[in-house]
């Protein structure tokens, strides 16, 4: 009976503990898998021809000939789309045409002057041209089809007027002809509506294919290219093909989302076929294909992470982490060894131990403020936020962790090891260095692993002490500079840097990048996790080698 109870107890405990472990693992996966799933799209994604163009322009990557061919293919199917858009917008957005008509009138005046027309003839011709111009402008500005057509007919009647023969004024009639064709097809009474929709369509096409031909090159890289990734392209395509409107069915009724196909909005207009063409020529327009953008881990960003990678952030995080470890490990291990091997059990030592334990629980922002006050402001030699100040702050943050882990590890070394060494005539220090510390190595490394992850991921301590969202990449100088001035070897210590942790934060709270390019945000978070994992794996490998050696295998 008793054994049965014991067995049940045993089984129950095993199941419960296994369940707990599984639960933790599942929770981790629930968090990490979506994170990775979205982060990896910063590296592996479907690129478009625009991305290839960008890579060529920015970094000179890719084959010139291939790219030229792809761009030519794309241009062939883009051209009709641009033409349709231009022709339709001429009918709807007549302001440019009005301006053009005025320009033509002015040119005609200059033409007359140039040909030394006699004075009376000059004013007569000018008057006639003015009438034609006003007729055309009236037509352009009218919303009523009949008025427009009448006005245009009146203008076109003047076509054979000898006053205009072979002069710039002939442009009036070409314009009238073109606009007549539009006026016959487009319902001009809805012009205002068409105009807003047309602006949306144009914006979507800009998103998709980049600036329209003839437009000036925008100053930002991000506006100079169409959709560089398929996911962005699909978003732009949705905006192009469908209009999303919030319409209330009546006063007091809630707004309801209506999705209206643009094709219907523009039914019967010359723009109608555009939407079918975009769908039909989709593959040629953007030429999507899979890309493994491994350079993500090396490239600098462009336009605040809209394009590019996280190279400088990785470098900065590595520098900060490794530098802080360089300071924290020796200090921590020496302190731990002192506390275990040399310090007695006095009140002072107890107070120091308590302080260390308390420090381990202090919020990291407090370290950040301390770092700002002490390393940046008080220590004149540093004087400004930089890698040195940030890594010193980080090292203070992880020091308690390292001290405590090392203390435990050193304490756990069997006394017989020390006795063996002492009995062979080694002093206390030699015993510590030659026997105790190597035997405590795996335990110390565990503490280091814990603090590595913490140092790499912390944001608050470096926030004020040396990290920037945008700024130069740490400059290590060159061998010739080092030879000239050996101090420049350490110049990078006194420069600020970027870091993955702060970068993630900055994207999240910064501006619209996290919305425009969510892959960049997740990509950076993923990179931070990957980097931490890589550092940990390295430390774990060292630890397992060490403990294998200690076990004698």
């Amino acid at each position: 009976m008793k054994t049965l109870l014991r067995q049940i107890q045993d089984k129950g405990f095993t199941t419960a503990s296994a369940g707990a472990v599984l639960l933790i693992a599942a929770a981790l996966l629930v968090v990490l898998i979506p994170m990775f799933g979205r982060g990896i799209t910063a590296v592996i994604f479907t690129e478009t021809v625009e991305f290839r163009r960008l890579q060529k322009d920015l970094h000179g990557r890719g084959d010139n000939e291939h790219l030229a061919r792809a761009l030519a293919d794309a241009a062939a199917v883009r051209e009709p789309i641009y033409t349709m858009l231009r022709e339709f917008s001429e009918g709807i957005d007549t302001e440019p045409l009005v301006k053009q008509a005025r320009d033509v009138y002015q040119k005609y005046g200059e033409y007359l002057n140039y040909h030394n027309t006699p004075k009376e003839q000059y004013s007569d011709y000018r008057k006639q041209a003015k009438d034609v111009r006003d007729g055309l402008v009236d037509a352009l500005e009218s919303d009523d089809r009949q008025t427009v057509l009448d006005d245009l007919d009146a203008v076109l009647k003047e076509k054979d007027n000898p006053a205009f023969a072979d002069s710039p004024a002939m442009e009036f009639f070409a314009m009238a002809q073109r606009y007549k064709k539009i006026a016959e097809t487009v319902d001009l009474s809805h012009r205002a509506e068409y105009l807003t929709n047309l602006q949306e369509v144009t914006a979507a096409i800009r998103q998709l294919l980049g600036p329209l031909p003839g437009e000036p090159t925008p100053p930002l890289w991000m506006d100079q290219y169409g959709a560089t990734r398929l996911d962005m392209a699909l978003k732009a395509r949705a905006a192009l093909l469908y209009d999303e409107q919030w319409i209330s069915d009546g006063p007091g009724k809630p707004m309801v989302k209506h999705i209206i196909a643009r094709k219907e909005q523009f039914a019967g207009t010359p723009l109608e076929p555009l939407f079918d063409r975009v769908e039909a020529d989709w593959d040629k327009l953007l030429q999507p294909r899979l890309r493994i953008y491994w350079q993500y881990f090396f490239d600098d960003w462009v336009n605040s992470h809209y394009f590019g990678g996280v190279g400088p952030e990785i470098l900065g995080t590595l520098l900060l982490t490794l530098m802080s470890m360089c300071v924290a490990i020796p200090l921590g291990v020496i302190s731990a060894a002192y506390l275990v091997e040399y310090a007695g059990d006095t009140v002072w030592i107890k107070i120091i131990r308590m302080c260390i334990n308390t420090l381990a629980g202090v919020p990291s922002i407090v370290y950040g403020l301390f770092g700002l006050a002490f390393f940046v402001v008080t220590i004149g030699a540093i004087g400004k936020p930089c890698i040195l100040a940030a890594s010193l702050t980080l090292s203070i943050l992880v020091l308690p962790v390292i001290i405590r882990a090392s203390e435990e590890a050193i304490r756990a070394v069997p006394q017989t090891y020390r006795e063996a060494s002492l009995a062979l005539g080694a002093g206390k220090f030699r015993t510590l260095v030659l026997v105790t510390l190597p035997a405590a190595g795996p335990g110390i490394l565990t503490g280091i692993i814990l603090s590595l992850s913490r140092a790499a991921g912390e944001t608050a301590p470096i926030l004020f002490t040396g990290v920037v969202a945008m700024g130069p990449i740490p400059n290590f100088g060159s061998p010739s500079q080092w030879l000239e001035n050996p101090g420049s070897l350490f110049g990078w210590l006194f420069q600020p840097t970027r870091a993955l942790s702060y970068g993630s934060y900055d994207i999240a709270v910064g501006d619209r990048i996290s919305m425009l390019a969510p892959h960049q945000q997740f990509g950076m978070a993923m990179t931070l996790i990957l980097l931490t994992v890589a550092l940990n794996v390295a430390a774990i490998l060292i630890r397992s080698r060490l403990s294998r050696k200690l076990r004698g295998c």
């Binding site: 006394q415 006795e419 009995a423 062979l424 005539g425 002093g427 190597p438």
Partner: protein
């Protein structure tokens, strides 16, 4: 109180024959001289008395066994000789315990020198997590011996002395932890010999070993006798009778009887000793 000087010597030529040349200086010429002598020596753990007013003298080149019931202070006495008990907080010694005529509890005692003279083998084999070679070189390296040839020589000599050479000569650079318990214990003995001590203290060196390994270590002790002064703590009375020249019987921190082994086991002069060796103790 016994006067060991009066105890007749039982010299074994075998011991001298096995004495390694390079450690010849370790052997004290006047073998009748006491290497270790305690006078009214007491040792306290805080208020608790571990060794109580012990006086005895141990001859150079002899093997002395210390027997007694558990907790009677055997280890405490042994560890006092090379001051291994210093590590214990609150411990304190009284009286005189001299090695080669110097009181080891004198303030001026150089612990490093003392421990180089007085080596120790522990109850549990405790090789370092290093190769066999490095284990043995640990002591010599501390003494400043750097030359590879010299170190290799020492390694071979010590391993031969510890009767381990033939078993490990091919894998000197393998981890010492890969050896069996008995081999590890012999390695620890070899490691101790490598510092060229005068005295080797052994605290129950065979308690973790099987009879075959025990026999090998007993052989080893017999071979080392003469070249080294050996003090061995053991619970195995047959072992004490087999390996030792003299035997000391401790009880409750006091030295009850100290005599030639033959005499102590066949004709003990004290009642407690007789009770203990005949198994009527307690």
């Amino acid at each position: 109180m016994e006067t060991p000087e009066t105890v007749p010597l039982k010299k074994t030529d075998a011991g001298h024959a096995a004495r390694p040349q390079q450690f010849a200086q370790a052997a004290v010429t006047e073998s009748s001289e006491a290497v270790i002598s305690a006078r009214q020596f007491s040792f306290f753990y805080g208020a608790k008395c571990g060794v109580d007013q012990v006086s005895m003298a141990i001859r150079s080149g002899s093997v002395t066994a210390i027997i007694g019931p558990s907790g009677c202070g055997k280890s405490t006495f042994l560890r006092s000789i090379n001051r291994m008990n210093d590590l214990i907080p609150g411990s304190r010694a009284q009286g005189v315990l001299a090695v080669n005529g110097h009181n080891v509890y004198d303030k001026r005692t150089n612990l490093v020198n003392l421990r180089q003279q007085v080596g120790m083998v522990f109850q549990k084999p405790n090789p370092f997590a290093k190769s066999i070679y490095d284990n043995i070189c640990y002591g010599p390296r501390l003494q400043g011996i750097r030359s590879r040839g010299r170190l290799s020589e020492i390694v071979e000599k010590c391993l031969r002395d510890a009767a381990l050479w033939d078993e490990v000569k091919d894998d000197l650079h393998k981890s010492a932890l890969a050896l069996s318990g008995g081999q590890q214990q012999r390695l620890c003995i070899a490691r101790t010999l490598a510092t060229r001590p005068n005295v080797v203290l052994m605290d129950e060196p065979c308690s973790a070993l099987d009879p075959i390994a025990t026999a090998r270590i007993e052989d080893l002790i017999a071979q080392l006798k003469g070249a080294y002064t050996i003090v061995i703590v053991t619970h195995n009375m047959q072992q004490a009778a087999r390996v030792s020249d003299e035997t000391a019987f401790f009880c409750l921190g006091k030295l009850i009887e100290y005599d030639r082994t033959e005499k102590l086991f066949t004709n003990p002069s004290k009642k407690e000793t007789e009770d203990y060796i005949t198994g009527r103790f307690g």
